[in-house]
Every structure is written in C-alpha cells, then in structure tokens.
C-alpha cells in the first residue's frame, strides 16, 4: 500500500478523465437489458400466456400492471422516503388522459367515417403494432406526461411538509382528482365525437359511471378475432411486460446512480444529505415526477386492459392503499421485494377464491361466496404481521441478490460469467468482499488494511 501518497486523495475529476470506457461495450451494456426485457415480454405473450390459458393469462397481465404501479410508488415512498398515499390519483390522471387519446383519437384519426353511426364504443384497430397499437403506445406516454405534471404539483408541497402532513396532502390530491372526474358528463358517442372540440372532450369523461367504450388494447389473448373477423385481442401481455421490464431496468439504474443514492440519503437523513451537497428539494420533486410518470403509464395500461371500465370509484383511496401495502410488504426501497409483493398480492384474491370454493364444497354449500370481501381483513392482518415480524418489509432496502443464498452461490457465478461484459463492475452491489477485491486490484498488494486506526471497534459503544 502506498502510505500517505497522493494517489488516494486525488480529486474525482482527474480520475474520471483517466477512465475511458470502450464506447461499444458501453452501448451494449446500456442496451441489452432493454432488449432482454422486450424479448422476455414477447416470450411471455406467445409461449407462456397460451400455456396458462385465458384466466391465468389475465392474472399474469394484472400482475404486470400491479408491478408497474407498485414499482413507481417505490420511487417516492421507498427511495425518497416521502410517504405518499395518493398514488391512485396519478394513475387516474394518466389513465383518463390515455383513454381520451385512444377513444377520441381513434374516432378523429383512425376510424372510417361510415362505421361511426352504429358504433357504441371504439374497437381495437389495426394489427399487431399497427395504427391502433401505435396510438395506444402514444397514449401511454401522454398519460405519463400528464401524470408527471400532476407530480410536480404534489411534489412542491413535499418541500415543506414531511411525514403525516405530506401523506395528508397526497391523500387530498387523490381525492380531488377522483371528485373532479366524477363531476364530468357521459362520454360522447362516437358519431357525435367527430365534431367535438377539446374542451368538450375533457368534460366528458364518463363521470361516476366510468369511461365506457375504451378499446381493449391490453388483453392477454394475442391477435384474436371474433366471428365477424374483427380483432378483439391485442398482445397486452407483451405491452405490459415490455413496460414492466423497461421500468424495472430504469428503477434499478436509478437506485445504482448518484441520483438514486441522493434519494436514499434524503430518506435516511435529510439534514445530512443537504449538508453533503444533495439538493434535497429537487431530489424530492424529481422523485415525485418520476413516480407519477410511471404511475400514469400504469394507469394507461389499466385503462385499456380487458374487463376494466376506467372508473373514479375504483381508483380512489382504496387503490392507493393497495399500492402502499405492496411497497411496505416488499420492503421500502427494494425493487425485487416490491415486485414479489405486487405479484403475491395480485394472486392472493384468486387463491382465496379457489380456497373458498374448495371449503364450501367440502361443507356441501353450493351458493356464491363473495371472496373479495375477505381481501381487506387479510391485507390488514398481513400488514400487521409484517410490521411485527419484519418491520422493514420482506427485503428491507436490499435486493434479492443481496440475500445470503444468492450472494453466496448465484452472484459470483453471474459475475464471473457475465460481470465483465454485461454489467459494470461498480454496479454489483459491492458487499465487503467485493470492495476488498476492488481495492486489492488497485493497490496491487494485499487486501486493504487500516493503517492509521489500530483497533477499530475497540471504542466505547455510545449510541
């Protein structure tokens, strides 16, 4: 080790200048996770979904949408530690904006005028990645942008409020959006909508009845047609899981980046974060904006999914709480934990249904059982149990690969096989062993040992 040499104390800028990553490798590393996500989504759609069959394929789709919503909430609740319980509000803003784009957009841009007289809604248009699909994907982005704008509005109060008070503001936001949507009039019929202006459209969102007639672009069955040859299903699982994949890659990269660590620092200790040069105000607002954007995209997916009529009552406080439970259960700040929790809590009601049927058959009762009514008590019980047994959530702030088994057996193999090429070395979560290995590599000697601290840990352990 080079005792006291300048090499260890040089400034960051000098070091950055020395490191010249290979641009081709960097491009590959940058792009492959996105491509992999899209390939996996495609395989889920064409291989897994048919194997699962209609009902379970729909559940798979619901899981995907839940992951988008819960992971986006994780940015603000988990990473930045700003407790938001109005996430369904962002979802609603995005969902309605997207529904407007596909419904009124289809009528104005895509549908042949002759068909409009008998249409009660807007049907799915075009084939896979045809005009209708492109309009739908555009609507996802529009939904995200509108929700992000709402995110700024909610993010700004977060600069002055914290804890319970901020939660109340976000709750208020969700309720305001819900009530505003409820005041709107019925959706304009396609034949009349041709001549409707923008002002007329945004005041006709369906009110308390919901936005009826949105085309179902997000359905689990791909490329299905009905008897008359109209397309009824689109590759919804492909779209949903492409977005899930892209979102997860982005969220992971956020967590690994300086901005992500700044968010975590804000959550851990705001005063210290500010003193270390982290602009806590802009960090918090950008967390809200990012989370809102992806919630808006999730809302757009939800608005176009099979069997859903976008409805203000369904996206109220209850929905926000569902999402909060997913984040808390999975672990605030854990990407993989939240994915697991979102999947688990989406499947749970289906499990109830099966269990209830089984039990009622055993006791010889053949009537209907409303299993949905049991969902909330069980959620509550689950949450209480988690708070008692594992207050930090399933994974805490950690990821799946930080846990013992994975870290010991899976990650070393992955690092050896792919680490050099697929992921930058600094991004492996750097447990102690890796840190030591890194510092050994640089100093070219034995593992780093403390030189000027004779016995760390011998100090008095004041709290």
């Amino acid at each position: 080790m080079t005792e006291g040499s300048d090499a260890r104390t040089r400034k960051l800028a000098e070091r950055i200048a020395e490191i010249k990553p290979n641009p081709a490798v960097a491009l590959g590393r940058s792009a492959w996770p996105f491509l992999a996500a899209i390939v996996i989504a495609f395989l889920l759609q064409v291989v897994i979904a048919p194997m699962l069959g209609g009902f379970y394929a729909k559940t798979l789709l619901d899981i995907g949408i839940a992951i988008v919503l819960a992971s986006s909430l994780n940015i603000v609740n988990g990473f930045a530690g700003q407790f938001s319980i109005g996430h369904a509000g962002f979802m609603m803003v995005g969902g309605y904006a997207a529904a407007c784009v596909t419904y009124y957009g289809s009528i104005k841009l895509l549908m042949p005028q002759g068909e409009l007289t008998e249409a009660i809604g807007v049907s799915v248009l075009g084939g896979f990645l045809g005009s209708g699909d492109l309009l739908f994907l555009a609507s996802c982005i529009v939904g995200g942008v509108f929700a992000a704008a709402a995110g700024i509005v909610v993010g700004l109060p977060s600069l002055r409020l914290r804890g319970d008070y901020l939660a109340i503001v976000t709750l208020g936001f969700g309720e305001i959006v819900r009530v505003l949507v409820q005041q709107t009039s019925d959706v304009i019929e396609p034949v009349k909508a041709v001549d409707a202006g923008v002002g007329e459209m945004v005041t006709h969102l369906g009110g308390p009845l919901g936005f009826t007639g949105t085309p179902t672009y997000v359905s689990p069955t791909p490329w299905a047609t009905n008897a008359s040859g109209d397309q009824t299903g689109h590759a919804g699982i492909f779209f949903a899981y492409s977005i899930v994949g892209i979102l997860l890659v982005l969220v992971y990269r956020l967590k690994m980046s300086s901005q992500g660590r700044a968010l975590l620092a804000v959550r851990e200790n705001e005063v210290a974060a500010e003193a270390m040069g982290v602009d806590t105000a802009s960090s918090k607002v950008s967390a809200f904006v990012l989370a809102a954007f992806f919630a808006g995209v999730g809302g757009a997916l939800f608005a176009h999914s099979l069997g859903v009529t976008l409805n203000p009552n369904e996206l109220g406080f209850q929905k926000s709480i569902d999402l909060v439970i997913m984040v808390v259960l999975g672990g605030m700040g854990s990407i993989t934990g939240v994915v697991f929790a979102a999947a688990f809590l989406t499947v749970l009601p289906e499990l109830f249904r099966e269990a209830a049927q089984f039990i009622t058959h055993l006791v010889g009762y053949h009537g209907q059982v409303n299993t949905d009514a049991y969902r909330m008590p069980v959620y509550a019980l689950l949450l209480i149990l988690v708070m008692i047994l594992r207050p930090q959530g399933l994974f805490g702030i950690k990821e799946l690969w930080d846990l013992g088994f994975w870290r010991r057996y899976v990650i070393p193999v992955w690092r050896k096989a792919a680490g050099g090429w697929l992921i930058p070395k600094h991004e492996a979560r750097l447990p102690a062993a890796i840190a030591r290995e890194l510092s050994t590599e640089r100093t070219g000697g034995e593992p780093a040992k403390s030189d000027d601290s004779p016995k760390p840990g011998a100090s008095g352990d004041q709290p």
Partner: protein, 277 residues
C-alpha cells in the same frame, strides 16, 4: 479580541464578519468574526451552550444569519442553501452523528462523492460512457477515502452497525468525499478514549496536507485543541471572549472565568440552541 488582529500566515479562505443570529429574544451568537487561512487548523471552543454549533449552522447555511457576512474565497455565501454551500466547498460533520444508517459504508461515501458528478438522470438511465467513468471513479475514490480513514475493511457493512469511533471516521470521510476546501468538524473525538483521541488528532492534522483543506474544529478536549490548533476562538454565551494562539488563549482571564466561573457569578445556561433542527 478580534481575529483579524492576530498575525496570521496564509491567504484567507473562509471569512466570517460580525455574524449574529437571535432565536426570539435569545442572542445565540453575536458579533462573531473569524478568518480561516489556507491549510489552517483553527479551534472553536467554549462551555456548553456557548453557541459553537450555532456558528457551524450559520456557516453551512442551516441557519441564515440576521446580520454579517460569510465569504469563501471572497465569494459571498449568505442566503445560499446548505447543499449549494457544500458544493461551493464547505463540508461538515455533525456532533450528533448523522449517517445514512441503512446504507452501506461505501454508499454513504458514494452519495457525497456523487454530488461532484456531472451526469444527469438521463445519462444515469442510459449508462453512457461518461456515467460509467464517473461511477467507477466514484467507487475508487470512495474506497481510497475509506482506506485513508482506516475503515476500508468495513465498506460493505451498514453504516449504523459500525462502532462509534468508526462512525465518526465515516462522517469525516463522507465530508471529505464532497471535495471541500474547508472542513468543519463538530466534536470529532467526543466519546473516545485517550488512544483513540490521539490517533484521531494525528489523522486530523494529516488531512490538511493530504486533502488540501483548511479545518475549523469544535472540541471540548482542551488538550487536543491546544496541541493541534494554530488559532483558537473562544465563545461564551454567543460572544467571542478571546481569540489567538493556544498560548494566548490559555492565559486569558476571561477564558479562565468562562470555564471555571467566579464565585458570585453563576448564570443559567441559555436554553439549548445547539440542535440543528
């Protein structure tokens, strides 16, 4: 009395001129002036509740001074946010340790080093070559800093699980990671035993040359302050009662009075105004 009166080598880096702040009717600090020269090591001492931490909070922008000027290399810092002041080159540690407890030791440092990175959110999402170079440099520099402070072997541990002495070291390492020109240390050896104090004193002295920083130190341990500081400012009830070299300050009757008291003068200490928030 006045810091400017003392013959003082080196170019001034940090200058505070007649700083004052009152909380309600309580004048926590009044007429505080200080000149910190390049590579200087100055001490700020005084009895409990004298306003030392308040001075730090004024300098770092946590509190806004009612009157007076703060200048870093002639650049006025008044009115700037704490984060902007930190990026301007003024880093601090906290008396009551404020680490990012859930994060690893390495991530604590990386967070601070990250504020010197230029990549924005889009570069982070796309992982451009610049971003990769920055992140690699941040890891290397962070590990080096941990190495210098002697806690590199704990890089992967959670910050809150470190023993007390190492938490103090981590605070210093984290402050250094922001690449400061001035380092403000708030009681860096509080709660340490004699050997640890001696090591820490040696370390603090060495930081000046290694990292080219000027250091302002709050400390209760008189021996340590007298040993390593070149210049000492003594506060009592928010008022500067003495300033000068350790030898001068030690003999100053008002300092002796402030520390030992005089028989018929036993004022109540002012209400706690050391806490940051």
């Amino acid at each position: 009395m006045n810091a400017a009166e003392v013959a003082w080598a080196g170019k001034p880096v940090l200058e505070a001129k007649q700083l004052a702040i009152a909380f309600g009717g309580l004048k926590a600090v009044s007429d505080f002036s200080l000149v910190l020269p390049e590579r200087g090591l100055c001490g700020l001492i005084g009895p409990n509740g004298a306003g030392k931490t308040t001075v730090f909070n004024l300098l770092t922008g946590v509190y806004q001074a009612d009157s007076g000027e703060i200048e870093l290399y002639k650049r006025r810092l008044n009115g700037m946010k704490p984060s902007a002041i930190a990026r301007a080159g003024l880093a601090r540690t906290f008396q009551n340790i404020r680490l990012f407890g859930e994060l690893s030791v390495l991530d604590n440092i990386r967070t601070a080093a990250g504020v010197r990175a230029r990549s924005g959110l889009v570069r982070s999402f796309l992982q451009t070559p610049l971003y990769l170079a920055e992140q690699q440099a941040i890891v290397e520099r962070s590990l080096d800093l941990l190495d210098v402070l002697g806690i590199a072997h704990r890089a992967g541990e959670q910050a809150k699980s470190l023993p007390y002495g190492d938490q103090r070291r981590l605070e210093i390492a984290r402050a250094l990671a922001t690449e400061p020109t001035v380092l403000l240390l708030d009681e860096p050896v509080a709660g340490m035993n004699t050997i640890e104090k001696r090591d820490m004193a040696k370390l603090i002295e060495s930081l000046r040359e290694r990292f080219e920083v000027s250091i302002l130190l709050i400390e209760h341990d008189m021996g340590l302050v007298m040993d390593i500081c070149e210049h000492i400012t003594v506060l009592d009830h928010g008022v500067t009662i003495a300033a000068g070299t350790p030898a001068m300050v030690q003999k100053d009757p008002s300092v002796i009075e402030a520390y030992l008291g005089v028989p018929d003068d036993d004022p109540e200490l002012p209400a706690d105004h050391q806490v940051v928030d």
